[in-house]
């Protein structure tokens, strides 16, 4: 650049000298300047670079794909991960004294709760109100009702009516501007009684402590997430899903952090931390750090994804254990559903996690007093917070509870996959720009052979209409389906979805011919260019919000996008394309997930599970506003259909 500038000025100097006489020379100068305009604007060098990229396009793509996958698998390797550490100064170390003594009494309260639950046949609202009031809390109730779009067969509910009970423990000496939440769901059957007992025990204990600087809200919610949704919407005066609930009579300050407790046995062997929330949102890593630090201090076994961490990272089994743990997290995050009652808090920017007590056949047992002490320690540290938890990471993967991979480390894995799309797009662009017979007046040739807008627009519109149908029809037409076929509503919805999906494969290909006539070579190239760029933008945005979902989709869709042309063997390619379609990805994911959880299922059971996963996905969208179903139906599926269209281009 320096040289070039020097040269130009020196030329200018000379031109200035001869200004009067050198009109032709000046023109000469202009052409010289044009030839020296840097790397990409220099036609020769640009051509060389493009030639290199086009010639080596396929190998580079393959290498990128391999590197992306290898990078991702390397994330679980311990030397490549970081040890977790507490970033929040205000919470600092675990330096508090845990003195919660009343584990046994809490269990007794839990048994009493169970008895009243059985007697009432649901949530014992009156008993809870009385008990909380006796512990000195300000007690309020909230009733809510919700009719599901179709019956939820997993949890056997359709018309849901329930009541949330919550008690607010006011901070004794502080302004009531901030709050912490401890919640325990009131589950049907014999589940979770101990959690409610412990919650009430902690309420009683905290009542006598004067160090609380934030309100503590003790919440017992009915119908798990639906109740939680109603309560959170009531608390924040929002209504995003059209649910009926009575407004809250009492509020605390803005909620800083929340823990949801699930405990179904008197003694436990380990505590499991669940982080994945709605749409793959995660709480700040400091919350996980806090939990881990206190588990270490008090001596409780703690797990994430139900997996203990192992010390033998250098052995093959140790590494595969870490991979399994991380893959479980990726799968759960990609599903976009809340994996515990805490999941909906994250939408309101409240850091929240679920703590699950697990009682397995291990010898080492932990009693309720110890869990109470752990919770006391965590709440006392959360109480010390001065701002929201924000010092640590919000985007991370955890191969074990003591190690994490931050966004800076895992994003390149996705980036390597996304680069393939851009390389393919570049390749197509070059092919479109350089017609084979290169003549002087090639411009006119290109214009003649360039496809009309319609031939690209038609498949685009049709595939998106199919997507809209996939999004709208299943829920809209369930009654009609139930009338005509001997199936239940839930089955009707799922099967309609699958039917629309399959119909989409048959419908749109070759539709462009209706309007634009015969498809051309240039036509499919333009369409593929559009589709590849569309996919790149789509996956890029998805990966920014929910890395796991973006990565899994990229893993399957990028090869499709890379290799599909009308000239590959039709049957084989069609088969591969279907295998790599979003629906089949979901099917494989279901099996893979079961495999990871060490609960492998037969194909029959897996299919049933697959159907229920689809219905749950639709329900999550309608009930809580999960975005995975609309994303797949409205954007990813139409994008995939474009590639299907290209394969059958004529």
């Amino acid at each position: 650049m320096l040289r070039q500038r020097t040269h130009v000025t020196s030329r200018c100097g000379r031109v200035m000298d001869r200004r009067r006489s050198s009109e032709p020379r000046r023109q000469d100068r202009v052409t010289v300047d044009n030839n020296n305009m840097g790397l990409l604007s220099d036609p020769n060098r640009r051509r060389a670079l493009l030639g290199l990229l086009t010639r080596l396009n396929a190998p580079i793509c393959v290498v990128c794909y391999m590197a992306g996958v290898a990078w991702f698998m390397g994330l679980a390797f311990e030397p490549f991960t970081l040890r977790t550490y507490m970033s929040e100064n205000a919470m600092g170390s675990t330096m508090v004294e845990e003195r919660f003594p009343a584990g046994e009494r809490a269990l007794a309260t839990g048994r009493e709760f169970a008895a009243h639950k059985k007697k009432t046949g649901g949530m014992p609202v009156d008993w809870l109100v009385r008990t909380m009031q006796a512990r000195g809390l300000e007690v309020f109730t909230q009733s809510f009702s919700r009719t599901l779009p179709f019956p939820d067969e997993n949890k056997e509910r359709y018309m849901v009516k329930g009541t949330n009970v919550y008690g607010i423990l006011r901070a004794p000496r502080a302004p009531r501007t901030e709050a912490l939440v401890l919640s325990a769901p009131c589950n049907p059957g014999d589940e979770n009684n101990q959690a409610v007992g412990l919650l009430l025990g902690l309420a009683q204990y905290f009542r006598n402590q004067i160090f609380l600087a934030k309100d503590v809200i003790f919440l017992v919610n009915e119908h798990d997430l639906i109740g939680m949704q109603a309560w959170l919407e009531g608390y924040h005066h929002t209504n995003t899903t059209g649910m009926d609930w009575s407004p809250l009579q009492g509020r605390g300050g803005s909620i800083q952090a929340a823990l949801s407790l699930e405990l179904s046995s008197d003694i436990i062997t380990s505590l499991d931390l669940v982080l994945e929330g709605l749409n793959g949102q995660l709480p700040n890593l400091d919350l996980a750090n806090l939990f881990y630090a206190f588990c270490q201090k008090i001596g409780v076994l703690c797990t994430i994804q139900g997996k203990l961490q192992r010390n033998d990272w250098d052995s093959v089994s140790g590494y595969s254990h870490a991979v399994q743990t991380m893959m479980l997290m990726v799968m759960k995050q990609a599903s976009g559903r809340p994996w515990g009652d805490h999941g909906l808090f994250l939408r309101y920017h409240i850091e929240a996690a679920t703590i699950k007590g697990i009682n397995s056949f291990r010898q080492y047992k932990t009693d309720a007093t110890t869990i109470g002490r752990l919770l006391e320690g965590m709440y006392r540290k959360l109480n010390n917070l001065l701002e929201r938890l924000h010092q640590s990471y919000f985007f991370y993967l955890m191969p074990s509870l003591s190690h994490f991979v931050s966004i800076g480390y895992y994003m390149p894995a996705f980036g390597l996959l996304a680069v393939i799309l851009l390389l393919r797009a570049l390749d197509l662009w070059v092919q479109l720009m350089t017609p084979p017979p290169r003549t002087e007046d090639g411009v006119i040739d290109i214009e003649q052979s360039s496809p009309g807008v319609l031939s690209v627009l038609t498949p685009l519109v049709i595939s998106h209409l199919t997507g809209v149908a996939l999004y709208m029809l299943p829920v809209r037409f369930q009654e009609m389906a139930v009338e005509h076929f001997p199936v239940s509503e839930t089955e009707a919805v799922v099967l309609t979805a699958i039917a629309v999906y399959t119909a989409g494969l048959a419908l749109p290909h070759n539709t462009h011919r209706l309007l634009a006539g015969e498809g051309t070579e240039q036509g499919w190239r333009v369409l593929k260019l559009v589709a590849v760029l569309y996919l790149a933008v789509l996956l890029g945005c998805t990966a920014l919000i929910n890395f796991s979902l973006g990565f899994i989709l990229a893993l399957t869709l990028v090869p499709v996008a890379a290799f599909v042309t009308p000239h590959v063997p039709k049957v084989l390619s069609a088969f591969i394309l279907v295998i790599l379609s979003p629906a089949c990805t979901l099917l494989f994911s279901v099996f893979f997930f079961q495999e990871l959880q060490e609960m492998p299922v037969s194909f029959q059971d897996g299919w049933v599970l697959y159907l229920s996963v689809i219905s749950q996905g639709i329900l999550d969208h309608v009930l809580y506003g999960s975005l995975v179903y609309p994303l797949i139906a409205l954007l990813v599926y139409p994008c995939w259909l474009l590639f299907w269209n290209i394969l059958f281009w004529k």
Binding site: S10, V32, N89, G92, M95, P172, R173, A213, R380, L386
Partner: protein, 383 residues
């Protein structure tokens, strides 16, 4: 006859004692100061910085015990730990574990609190440039006969000390403030103590005379906390100030402990960091400076029945005090030290570097050779 001799003896005794007192009068003014002031600053707020408030309060406790009245102490606390909502023991600030020592005491007079503790206010207090409406309790009303103790604690780094998460004071600003104090004749001698990470960086820019400085750690070192207390849930003190407090607890107004003992407080084995001190700006020998010259307000009192003529005593005192280095020009406030030389020190000589003209010439040569060889037309080949 007996009576006469008795009278004679008595008179000689009286004469002798009066002469003795007149001779010793010099040592009454050995330190050259007539009043003591203290500015104690805690610059950090928030509950987890409990220890900084406890640090400051423990120094406050010591100077007050040793006789500096509240009217001569400017206490700046950025947060109120005693009444913090998270304090399980309200109205106390402990310096020792297990609630052994409550440094909050009964009568703490905080002059600047909360958001009043700013760099601006601190510098204004030091330099005396306060608005006229400022009450006397918030002013440092020192003169050229004042010994001032300045104690700072908080979070710092290399060359700065943070005030309340929002601003910081640099070591240069601090050094300039002290110079301004010197020029405005606001102190006789000044003892500066800082307990913060890389504390030694805060005093390395000082250039005004009669300054002695101590810091809890060297540049590149962290100052560490001490006394973790599970019941209160925070660290109660920082290591350096903790051992400083232990040291000061043994001092009483008449004790002869000198500055050299103070420098030995908190050796590396206790502190983990390396405490530092700086005495090159101080004119007296630290061994002859009593700790109570700064931490206490000690007046020597000797009862005598005699009238002592002090008009000619200045000379005497100078002679008596001249055991160390000659104390020339102690009274004069101008050019006591070659200040200008210190300020205008040359920057450190860097590693050898070719002169700028050489590099320019080299480039010209390269370009010339290039154009000679290839000519301008072939320039495109290199891109």
């Amino acid at each position: 006859m007996e009576m006469l001799t008795l009278l004679c003896l008595f008179s000689t005794y009286l004469l002798a004692s009066s002469i003795n007192i007149e001779e010793n009068a010099g040592q009454f003014f050995s330190s050259g100061h007539t009043n003591n002031w203290a500015v104690l600053v805690c610059t950090s707020r928030f509950w987890f910085n409990y220890r900084h408030v406890a640090n400051t309060l423990s120094v406050y406790r010591s100077v007050k015990r040793l006789g500096i009245p509240d009217s001569h102490i400017v206490l700046m606390l950025a947060d109120d730990m005693a009444c913090n909502h998270r304090n399980p023991k309200p109205a106390t600030v402990f310096s020792h574990k297990n609630m052994e020592l409550n440094v909050y005491g009964d009568d703490v007079e905080v002059d600047y609190r909360g958001y009043e503790v700013t760099v601006e206010n601190f510098l204004r207090v030091l330099t005396g440039r306060l608005p006229p409406s400022t009450p006397r309790s918030k002013r440092l009303l020192s003169d050229d006969r004042s010994n001032i103790l300045i104690y700072l604690t908080g979070h710092g780094g290399n060359g700065f000390l943070k005030f309340q998460d929002s601003e910081e004071i640099s070591n240069v600003e601090l050094a300039d403030a002290f110079e301004q104090m010197w020029q405005k004749r606001r102190y006789n001698e000044l003892l500066f103590i800082i307990d913060t990470c890389q504390g030694a960086s805060m005093y390395e820019r000082f250039y005004s005379p009669n300054l002695m400085a101590l810091a809890s750690s060297q540049v590149g070192e962290d100052s560490l906390s001490h006394q973790p207390d599970l019941a209160i849930g925070v660290h109660l003190m920082d290591r350096y100030t903790f051992y400083l407090l232990e040291f000061l607890e043994d001092i009483h107004p008449a004790s002869k402990t000198n500055m050299n003992d103070l420098f030995k407080v908190c050796p590396k084995s206790h502190c983990v960091s390396t405490p530092g001190h700086r005495t090159d700006l101080f004119l007296r020998d630290p061994g002859s400076v009593l700790v109570t010259d700064f931490f206490g307000s000690v007046r020597k009192v000797e009862l005598t029945m005699e009238t002592i003529n002090l008009t000619g005593h200045i000379k005497q005192w100078e002679e008596s005090a001249a055991d160390g280095e000659p104390r020339k020009e102690t009274y004069s406030y101008s050019d006591q030290l070659p200040v200008s030389e210190i300020i205008h020190q040359k920057p450190k000589q860097k590693d050898w570097h070719p002169p700028d003209g050489f590099i320019l010439g080299l480039w010209t040569l390269i370009l010339l050779v290039f154009f000679k060889t290839y000519g301008i037309k072939h320039l495109k080949h290199i891109f």
